[in-house]
Subunit: 711 residues, 2 copies
């Protein structure tokens, strides 16, 4: 039981104006527009400096595949979440060295372990507006589709040009639904090593049970290191490589934060849908999500049933199941949020206000709006068919077959004309994916999952079925034969087809390859329709977003683009939230909360040395003066989403004070609608991380390597 | 979902020093000692005025049987909890007029309904220290038992003297475990009428499910009126009676309170055990409570099983079951609290500090301490036997038999020498009890409950069995015959024995009467041992408490006596509490919380007119400026216990701002140990009461009758 002292930080909120929204995942260049807001919440560092990629802190923020991270020493030391470094821990674990259960600490650089051939660290070093280059001199007479193709070709050319230096990986994502395009250049470090991860009972304390939950007491952190060739450039993993000299790195503040303090958060948020029209939200709420929840649950149940007989199979599907459960909780959370608050009604009201404003503007806005509505309606319909297709082909082996056949077809074209994802530059990733599949595949389980998905496909409304697909799909009792007459479950066989040409594949007697060849026409038709529609969307949605930006500007508000896996900065305040009448969630948890939850059994199995340190109140210098103990996790109102895992949480001076790793269940709907009253991101408190490193795991070498400002 | 605004009141706590304890159920005369404390929390009214029984507010505080209440008009209008006025509502309800479900409102005095012959309103008008009269001139040579008897005789004489005026009911409870005695004189008003009770869906919203729970949204209030004869003196119920002229009554403040505001609370707390020795707590925790929980659960299960076949029987045992469930939750709550926090260890430490201090004082303290420990050990052992006796005789019919036989025996003595509880003055209450039994009795259920209790009795350690009892108890298969050969289940038969003499009863062929006659020797032996032991306790516990008071005084702390159903005042602050790591319970609930919980089904079945008013946000003038809506219940740190139900909750000026009605589950252990960090009492907010009266039930006549200060 916590004492009265825990209430005091809440009290300190008095000094902040928390009724303001902290919504916004801002592009670095936008920060100067936010000067007044940043000042209001207490950020003292100049917005210009904060948004400068060539300086710390922003220059220290890096990406991992699907995660965010940051440099915390000049020698390439990277801190991220435990769940982001988990693959590296898992890869190095064995019965003899159970680093998952026991944790891992390299006491010297020589002891650092290869994180695996697929691990990457991406260091963004250039963000360049290329909108003009992509859209200038486009003939007005071009059809939407021709315009789309031309833009894609220009993008491919830009990427190819940028990647001439093999150190870089480049991309040209669109912002504001096609209004702007930026060329993002990232140095891609390929030699990544595992430095330190606490025991799973710390790093994943609470596991799936506590996923999206608060209160939370998870030490979700780990350390990697970037290695490069002796020339300082990215190189394939090699013992000769040397630590990357990261001139930009974050200073760590051991002082931590208190309730009401401002936070800055930088990372790579994946995808949001904040500017969707009411009709899009309604379609998700009433059609897409309920269908997805049903199919996901059926898939989860099928995996459970078909792996039940064999514990080894259960292990093999553990990460698949975890990922499905996570999507399930997220989708359920969205539906719960839609049920709790009428977000559609709010959006309808906002949309009506916008349209009223727009109609008062000069120009042919009516035409734009009706075109927008028509195109969005077509997009919803096509998305439903695409979902139906994904259900109908929900077999990992069939998908592999499709990949190799499609790759063979694309290889018939010059590299620059190939479909993105099937170019030369993509081939290593395809190979890695087809190899990695063996870790989570059992033929009979894959077949059972497909069977279930097909049942859900067949139950969909007829309008959702892509034309011609039904006739090509196997009968209910046809899957056995398909799997019996396919060798694709064998990794060597699967990989063997990567270099085959299309004709050879078409002649093969592998039943799943044969089916993939037959289905390719349907897949291609869907892709062509998608490109046609994207062409139309690219004509209308940029104009819509331009109008939205003008509308918001008329209200004095800047506009951030939806998340698209590019570097963003958000800010907020350490803050509680009201979960229901009479109950508040307070913004800090403490090590004593670990004692409350620990059961000795997974996922609530803290290492004994951790429990001993807590019970002995061996807080060291990491005790919070208000809480009177070591804080573990904290809440802030910063705006995050998937991909923000591992993002640096910084104080007003840009010093590292925590790592983002989750958000609360009540926040899940934020991808669609940011409700500032209840949206909270969950962070690891830097003091817990430092305390575990100091008092529990004795990671003195790392504590020494980082620049830590103590009180 | 509540908005950010709800967090603001919590924030206001900043201005108060909540880390101080608000422990203490103070006797009125003690208030001036608390001047500094009262000033600290913001009470502006002078402590002298607050403690003056002849003035408002204290003079307006009255008692009901087992509850507290207060006058709120000069015409005898009394406000108390819904559950305290429930008997009156129930009594007047019928299929045609379901006042329980629909509520009841007398629009004129003529419409007010008789509350029932057992309803009483007690107006305390004199509290007189009679310690000296009881203890002076007691010969030192008296044995402890002779001394005890003499004190009891002096008490009886004082009570008899006081009750010569038939308007009064008098008592002489001991304070500080026998250190002091006060004569309490209460005017006993016997004509009580039901004025207003909201629908059960308001007054008992949440029912047993929400008992001891927070958040809570219960409108636990009702109104009664005191009637007296035309001469202004208490009289038997009669249409000729007139409203009592209550010169002292509470002014109502419609302004309510906000988080951090001070509260005063006055009422009649029943019983606490704050000065028990560690050994007594250990005995309760390790022996008495676990046994009680097991026996209570078995009793509850037996009632459920033996009434299952007959819905009418279920109804008849509803209130018995409710009361058992309440005791169960309370006892479980105590055990949970003992498990959560090592209260014994805290008490051991406090006791050790006290003993160290005591040993440094002049005087023969060692002898006192060893005598205390020996006597307390004997008390624990005897209490265990008394509990065993209560299990062995847990038959309502057997208890009735015992009562009438015992009454007959006592009637052989002059009234002044009879045992308290069996004097002339007690006879109407005995008769009422034996009559009321018919409302909650079914012979076969009573027999089944006794059978279960006997099994638990037999499983108790042998040392707990009173000497000679086992041989007299019926065999397992003997109960059938006992019930078959008894007429006591018949109310007329039962009452018929009240006037019988002992010899007649002894000769009766009623099997249960025969058993009661046989068991009387065991009962008497236990009572005699209790008196002997009380005599010893009365010698040693007052000296112990005197030393405790001196010890606390040396620390600058005044000492309040344990609760004993006499008028007490406590104070506190409107305050949240931390329920576990990361979760705060905030101190106000709102009408929107009713919408969150309402299911349309009992006990979450709000009247449609209430729901409509909430949905329409028809808050009238009762909206809280911070919450932006009507508050329903609130928490304070005031020190309460059973008996405090219906207690007036007052603001710093002594104006009524709420009614106490419950405390949180985490607070249950407060009867033994007051943990200021988590102990919270639950109150109805006066604004909810006034809002329901104004917007929902239109009790305009009562709103007009009361003196209400609006903002």
């Amino acid at each position: 039981m916590t004492s009265f002292k825990n209430l005091l930080p809440i009290i300190l909120l008095a000094s902040t104006g928390l009724t303001h929204a902290d919504e916004g995942q801002w592009q670095p260049y936008q920060l100067p527009q936010l000067k007044a807001e940043l000042k209001r919440i207490g950020i003292t560092t100049s917005p210009g400096k904060l948004g400068d990629l060539s300086r710390s802190p922003l220059g220290a923020i890096v990406a991992l595949p699907g995660c965010s991270a940051s440099f915390v020493s000049p020698d390439g030391l990277v801190v991220t979440n435990h769940h982001c470094g988990y693959g590296a821990v898992q890869r190095n674990s064995s019965a003899a060295h159970n680093y998952i259960a026991d944790g891992f600490l390299a006491k010297t650089r020589a002891e650092e372990l290869p994180a695996g051939p697929n691990e990457r660290i991406y260091v963004t070093d250039k963000i360049e507006d290329v909108t003009l280059e992509l859209t200038q001199d486009l003939k007005r007479s071009l059809s939407p589709r021709a315009r789309h193709d031309e833009i894609q070709n220009r993008i491919k050319a830009l990427v190819a040009q940028c990647e001439k230096d093999p150190s870089y990986r480049c991309s040209v994502p669109s912002f504001h639904r096609g209004l702007e395009y930026y060329l993002i250049r990232q140095m891609m470090i390929r030699d990544v090593r595992l430095v330190y991860a606490p025991a799973e009972g710390i790093g994943n304390f609470g596991g799936d049970i506590d996923n999206y939950e608060w209160p939370r007491q998870t030490g979700d952190f780990s350390f990697l290191r970037a290695y490069v060739g002796k020339d300082g450039k990215p190189a394939d993993p090699s013992p000769d490589n040397v630590p990357y000299r990261s001139k930009k790195f974050l200073v760590v503040s051991a002082e931590g934060l208190k309730t009401g303090d401002p936070v800055l958060l930088a990372g790579y948020p994946g995808r949001t849908s904040r500017y969707k029209l009411p009709v899009e939200i309604r379609a998700a709420r009433d059609v897409a999500y309920p269908l997805q929840v049903a199919a996901l649950q059926a898939d989860i149940d099928t995996i459970a049933k078909s792996t039940a007989a064999n514990p080894e199979w259960t292990v093999r599907y553990a990460s698949v199941e975890k990922s499905l459960q996570n999507r399930m909780k997220k989708t359920r959370g969205l539906l719960d949020a839609f049920a709790r608050k009428d977000i559609v009604a709010i959006k309808v009201k906002q949309d009506a206000e916008f349209r009223t404003w727009l109609k008062a503007q000069p120009g042919a806005t009516q035409i734009m709006l009706s075109e927008l509505d028509r195109t969005i309606a077509a997009d919803i319909a096509l998305s439903n068919e695409e979902y139906a297709w994904s259900l109908a082909t929900n077999s990992e082996l069939l998908k592999s077959a499709h990949t190799v056949y499609r790759l063979a077809l694309e290889k018939q074209k010059p590299d620059a004309q190939r479909e993105p994802g099937y170019q030369q530059r993509d081939q290593p990733f395809i190979k890695a994916r087809l190899t990695r599949l063996e870790q989570s595949l059992v033929g009979t389980v894959d077949q059972a999952r497909w069977q279930t998905a097909l049942q859900h496909y067949r139950a969909l409304p007829a309008a959702m079925h892509p034309a011609g697909l039904d006739a090509l799909l196997p009968a209910n009792n046809g899957l056995d034969a398909l799997y019996r007459h396919s060798q694709l479950a064998n990794t060597a066989q699967r990989l063997g087809w990567i270099d085959a040409d299309a004709a050879t594949i078409a002649r093969s007697d592998d039943a799943l390859l044969q089916l993939a060849v037959k289905l390719n026409a349907i897949a291609t038709a869907l892709e062509e329709r998608r490109k046609d529609l994207d062409g139309k969307l690219e004509l209308v949605t940029p104009r819509y977003m331009q109008a939205i930006i003008a509308f918001k500007k008329s209200q004095g508000k800047p506009v951030y683009p939806d998340a698209n896996s590019t570097l963003r900065i958000t800010y907020g305040t350490v803050a509680p939230y009201a979960v229901r009448d009479g109950i508040l969630k307070s913004p800090f948890t403490t090590v004593e909360g670990i004692l409350e939850k620990d059961t000795g059994k997974k996922p609530f199995n803290s290492p004994p040395k951790l429990l001993a340190a807590i019970k002995a109140k061996r807080y060291g210098q990491f005790s919070d003066p208000v809480l009177g103990t070591v804080p573990v996790n904290f809440l802030s109102s910063a705006d995050t989403t998937g991909g923000n895992s591992g993002s640096a949480v910084m104080n007003k001076d840009g010093e590292l004070v925590g790592l983002n790793f989750d958000s609360t269940y009540e926040s899940i709907a934020k991808d669609w609608y940011f409700d500032s009253a209840i949206t909270r991101a969950i962070h690891v408190d830097i003091r817990y991380m430092l305390w575990v490193m100091s008092e529990v795991d004795h990671a003195d070498n790392l504590l020494k390597e980082m620049t830590i400002k103590y009180k």
